[in-house]
Structures are given as structure tokens and as C-alpha cells.
Symmetry: C2
Subunit: 198 residues, 2 copies
DNA sequence: CTGACTAATTAACAATGGTTAACGCGGTAT
DNA sequence: ATACCGCGTTAACCATTGTTAATTAGTCAG
């Protein structure tokens, strides 16, 4: 699918993934482009999540159901983010997550088996695989910091500054779940902030 | 340092790291054994944390200082855990963390450069490096779940059941920081639980 | 346009955590 | 012994969140 991405996007992917352009092209050859409409589910079904997605343009929500059938929004992501269940991707176990497309979106994805094909072909790709793991780790760590060191109000403010797009694109009930609070609390926080910003 | 570990420990390391015994021996050749006493700092100084440690026996606390000079306990770990600043290890940037030995402890560690030596010698070790990244990710993800889905009381209970050793070995002020609450709150939670357990 | 459904807000009350301050306990140094 | 210090606990008060329920706003299909 190498041809469907803009040169600008390729350049930034090259940096993000730590791949020189020729390697990036090689990588994109194993990738599959996909368009999904709002509210569609990415790779639905309770099975192993054997692929990783990149958001060319759009927004997704990764969630799962608690024992009581309640939805918990684990991640919210927009343009330029990778998503998928990396744990399931690594371990090969069934994923508990469902991923929902929040606005009409464009993605590409690659499967574990196609990545392993690259790895088997040339040791170079093992280093790339390792980098993917590192990126997933760094994301996860940032999320820990966020949850551990900031209260809900600060978390909301951080989201507003770091990712205003998400606040625009994603309904509040999902935002609140992502922030680890109830919709009512988010509503109150927004009211407080609006009052304080006179 | 291959000879200093018990066969039992080697066996469990072999599983944990996904290395057959002969490869494990090879790996242990790049490792350095180290004993540190209570309250000593592991690899002190504000520089890049270019090594990863394994706790043979003991307990450590990973913390850092906020802008206001307040200590925040990021991680508490005991026997069988790996620690270090994996982010610094990956990126080569200076670490913000300090790691304190909580009880007299025995570790071994390996440096990034010695790991890269293995990787350069044989492509096999690239897969191992990747596995380390995966393990770091899975740990981080578990911590996110913990913080996102459970309130402080439940987090304390989880710690009690999953890691009673930590609750024994680590002073409460660090436990509370790890749980993301104040020492007073932890004290109240313990009181609530003691009252409820009649 | 209307009705029906969902989302967001608001209110009232309870539960919980943060803050500040005081107290007691167990070490340690003098 | 005593004075001190760090630690854990407790208390009182305040701020924030959760819970439940009602209301309002918004969306979509017909």
C-alpha cells in the first residue's frame, strides 16, 4: 500500500518508527490500508488481536467491559497514533478489548505474521520489532504518570492542552471514562473551569 | 557471574526470560552480581540509567522528586522483579529516578552496552532484547489497569494479595505514595478494613 | 415536525481523599 | 535518663468524587 500515503506522512512515519525511507517503503509493503466509518468496530470478535493499526486520519476508542457489563474506555487516540492490543499481539492470547471508530477514519495495519515474515527475512527487522515494543512501553509509562501524579481536573486540563482534538472528537462519556471518573464529575470539572476562567 | 545463582532461580529465570538454559548461561556471563545494604542508592547520580537490575533477594523503591521537592514512589519491587529506568535505558536520556534499597539485598545487572555486544554477536539476542521490552510493557500496562480501574482501597487490597512481601518490607509512607494517596489516607483505609473484618 | 432515544447537565446526599495539626511510639544521640 | 526525630495514627475540617435521580439538550428516524 506504499503509494497511498503522502510524502509528508511518510517522512514523519520514518522519524517516528526510526526507519530510513527505503526501509519504511519495505515496511509499508506488508501494511494494509483500511477505511472505516463512524461507530464501526475495528477487527471485531473476541479473538487474538494479531495486528497493530496506525491512524492516518480519524479517532478511535479502545474499551472493554467490566464484570458488571460496564464499558471502560482504556485509550482514546487520533491521527498519528498506533493502536491495537499490544499485549494480545505479543502474547497471542485473546484480547479483552473492543476498538470503536469514533469518526470516519483511515488506517493502515500490519499483522504479526507479516511482521515475522520481515523478521525472518532479515535480522534488521528484529530491531524494528523491538522499537515497536519500546514505543508501546513509553506510551504506557506516560499514562501511568498521568494517573499517578495528577487529579482528574489536572488530567482533563492536560488532555485539553496535549490533545485538543480528542476532546473535540470524542463524546464526554468516553472522555470521563478515559480520565477515570464519572460523566457527572467531568461535567462538574468543566463547570468549575468555566467559572474560574472569567 | 553464572555460578552464583541457584539452579532453582536459574530455572525460573529461564522461563521468565524465555531463554533455554544454555542461552541463559550465556546471558548471565554479561551480568554483574551486586550486594547493597539497606538505604543505599542503586546507581546513584543524575545520569543515564544504562543498566537493568534483577532482584535476587531484597526490595527496592524507585522514586523521583517533584518540582516542589516532594518524593513520589513510582515503583516498589521485590524478589524476582527487574528494575531500572527502562525509558532511560532505551532512550539514553538522563533518568529522573532514584532507586533506593529498602532491605539488605542481592542483585545482578547488565548494561545496555553489554547487551548490545550480545546482539552484535548473534541475531538471536535481538529477539531477547525485544522480549525485555515486551516484559517492561506488560508491567506498565498492569500498573495502568490498577490505577484506572481501582480506587485506593482496592489498590491496597490488591497489593496485599498479590504482593504481601512488599507490604511487609516497605514503610507505609512509601506504600501510600505508590498507591497514589497520602499516608493519612492509607492509615484510614487500614483502619476501615480492620473494622470491617470483624 | 414530531417522538423517541441518548447524552449532558444539574442537584442533593453520602463516601472518600486531601490538608493541617496534634499525639504517641520507638529508636538514637547526647 | 532525656531530648529529639521520624513514623504512624488520629481528628477535624474542607474539597472533590461517587451515587442516584431528575431535568434539559441534542440527535436521529419516521
Amino acid at each position: 500500500m506504499s503509494s497511498s500515503l503522502s510524502p509528508v506522512l511518510k517522512k514523519s512515519l520514518s522519524i517516528q518508527l526510526g526507519l530510513p525511507m527505503d526501509r519504511l517503503e519495505e515496511f509499508l509493503c506488508i501494511c494494509v490500508f483500511e477505511k472505516l466509518g463512524k461507530n464501526q468496530l475495528v477487527y471485531p470478535g473476541k479473538r487474538c488481536f494479531d495486528r497493530l493499526y496506525f491512524i492516518v486520519d480519524g479517532a478511535v476508542r479502545t474499551f472493554y467491559y467490566t464484570d458488571m457489563g460496564e464499558e471502560i474506555s482504556y485509550l482514546l487516540q487520533v491521527n498519528g497514533d498506533f493502536f491495537g492490543d499490544y499485549e494480545s499481539f505479543i502474547t497471542g492470547q485473546k484480547s479483552r478489548f473492543t476498538i470503536q471508530v469514533m469518526v470516519d477514519s483511515e488506517f493502515f495495519y500490519f499483522t504479526k505474521s507479516s511482521l515475522l515474515t520481515l523478521v525472518n527475512r532479515e535480522a534488521f527487522w528484529l530491531g524494528f520489532k523491538s522499537r515497536i515494543a519500546d514505543l508501546a512501553f513509553l506510551d504506557a509509562k506516560e499514562r501511568i504518570n498521568e494517573l499517578l501524579f495528577y487529579n482528574p481536573e489536572k488530567r482533563y486540563l492536560n488532555l485539553l492542552t496535549k490533545n485538543p482534538e480528542i476532546v473535540q472528537k470524542i463524546p464526554q462519556k468516553y472522555l470521563s471514562s478515559y480520565l477515570g471518573i464519572t460523566p457527572q464529575s467531568l461535567s462538574r470539572i468543566r463547570k468549575r473551569l468555566a467559572a474560574g476562567a472569567d
